[in-house]
Symmetry: C2
């Protein structure tokens, strides 16, 4: 979601004051700023605004991908929230934002027997033709094996990368494994593949597959790409070791190049330098298959709640 | 799956010998039996037959509910497996076994906004009418609350029980929570409900719902029943706290009352009392949405592998 542009912005100036204090003010003069920060921190720890906003956005609005009716509801929710919390100069800036919308989608093993896979299209994937794509699969248990495959070696095939995500304390396994999702479709297409499946970038052993976006390279055909559940990927590995496996893939995603989204902002007007602005915020949109509580309702809620607490100070910070 | 009747049976007599030894033989005479048991145990620990059979059944045959083509393949697999492992008197006994087959199924929130739920029909559920059932929901966060609801209070409603399953070391939380799945549909129907949804009997926080069977009481209308994902159930709780929620449910399950299944057995013929038979085995069928590795491919595989090791002894046990 890093490239999403929709910000729910709330301007405030506390951090700027603190940063300046580090270099230009003597210790005795810094003290009031630190006391204010400590008081804000303590108030935030007992304040439920961020929690309440997260619960309300995920419940009242729900999943809110760009281009959905829910995204428009989320915009209205943000305006109402800023109003309720007492922000000033509430603005809604519309901007062009092409949208990708998931359609009906399915993937089934059809050889050696019929078996419906747990699958989910990758965000940004092109659709299959209406009647779907059916082809034999080639399984790569490591992403490097796909990269090592010669040009043309996947002609007419569905490439399947089944590399597992490594569980790590810091979550870095997600980024490492994610390359197979982000770049795999084009690498497979360069080698002739007609579609691409990747083992869900997940450490779960349940079938629920994880979506996430993919990006097509300019120098490769765009082929449909989806994630499959972890047990489904493991089954494909075992099946492919025994003989030919064919999969039928149907995806009906669509893109609206002329879609729009919105930046919604509210101000805590600066007390002495109102024309200088600091911006914090989160992205209001979410994936379509979850409520986006973490990605990024909580980001929106925490920054909004922090700005609200700052706005409640006896004197606003210098900057907006 | 406890009531499933399909057994992959392998007869052998070691346990009988050991049991008799406990009461009737002096220590010095028991020793050969114990030595044999210890040797079998050690051989089993380094033997991969059970693992190989589990992998092969779940991979080559896959999900194998009664009434599916895969169930017939599983029968053939069992016969071939017994042949390969050298069992005698391999038998296939056909018996009547009504089958339940899942059809297309879906559930969506339609008020206050559209949201497709992660759902799975409960095994044995009746279908909805072809055009589905749409109704307002009544949410019960505890199963006891449903039981406390007055007769008629759910008239025309979809009852939703969102009680969580408690995580326990011994797995007993599954049984405790499962009552809402097993008996809930009829309890809701007695109170007038037109359909029933239960929070997945699962401790996972992923959306994948868990199926499992339900049983209708004789004195209640049979209403369609499904499980929904844990996050979906939690969302319904939060939505229902804010206002009316309506759900559209479609399920197209079917029952074939005249279906059949098979007991498949192979013998390790007893060396001195071949007409006395001990039977071990597992059930060959599985749910439709997984490969049934634990339920019960591993049971089939472990008992078959144990019998095979016993059959490999220099002298077969007394009984078949």
């Amino acid at each position: 979601m890093k490239k999403r542009l929709i910000a729910l912005a709330a301007g405030f100036a506390l951090l700027a004051n603190a940063a300046l204090a580090q270099t230009s003010l003597a210790p005795v003069k810094r003290q009031p700023t630190y006391e204010t920060a400590a008081a804000l921190r303590d108030r935030a720890l007992s304040d439920t605004t961020a929690w309440d906003l997260t619960a309300d956005l995920t419940t009242s609005v729900g999943p809110r991908p760009v281009g959905s009716p829910a995204m428009a509801r989320a915009k209205d929710w943000a305006v109402k929230t800023f109003e309720t919390l007492g922000f000033s100069n509430i603005k809604v800036e519309e901007f062009a934002k092409p949208s990708w919308t998931r359609g009906a989608e399915s993937a089934s093993v059809v050889l050696p027997y019929d078996w419906q896979l747990a699958m989910i299209g990758l965000g940004g994937s092109v659709p299959t033709p209406p009647k779907g794509i059916e082809a034999e699969i080639v399984v790569f248990s490591a992403y490097a094996d796909l990269l090592a495959a010669p040009q043309g070696s996947l002609k007419g095939k569905i490439a399947v990368v089944t590399a597992p995500m490594t569980r790590t304390l810091d979550g870095s396994g997600y980024g490492t494994a994610g390359i197979a999702r982000r770049a795999g479709p084009s690498e497979a297409a360069k080698r002739g593949a007609v579609a691409y499946l990747v083992r869900s970038i997940s450490t779960s052993d349940l079938r629920s597959p994880h979506t996430g976006g993919t990006t097509y390279a300019d120098d490769a055909p765009k082929i449909p790409a989806a994630a499959i559940g972890v047990p489904d990927a493991e089954l494909l590995e075992r099946l492919a070791a025994k003989g030919p496996v064919r999969i039928k893939l149907n995806m009906a995603s669509s893109v609206d190049e002329k879609d729009v989204a919105w930046n919604i902002s509210g101000d805590i007007v600066g007390s002495s330098k109102p024309d200088e602005v600091l911006v914090i915020g989160g992205h209001l949109d979410s994936w379509d298959v979850g409520t986006g509580a973490i990605d990024d309702a909580s980001g929106v809620a925490i920054t909004t709640a922090a700005a609200k607490l700052i706005g409640d100070l006896p004197r606003h910070p210098a900057r907006t």
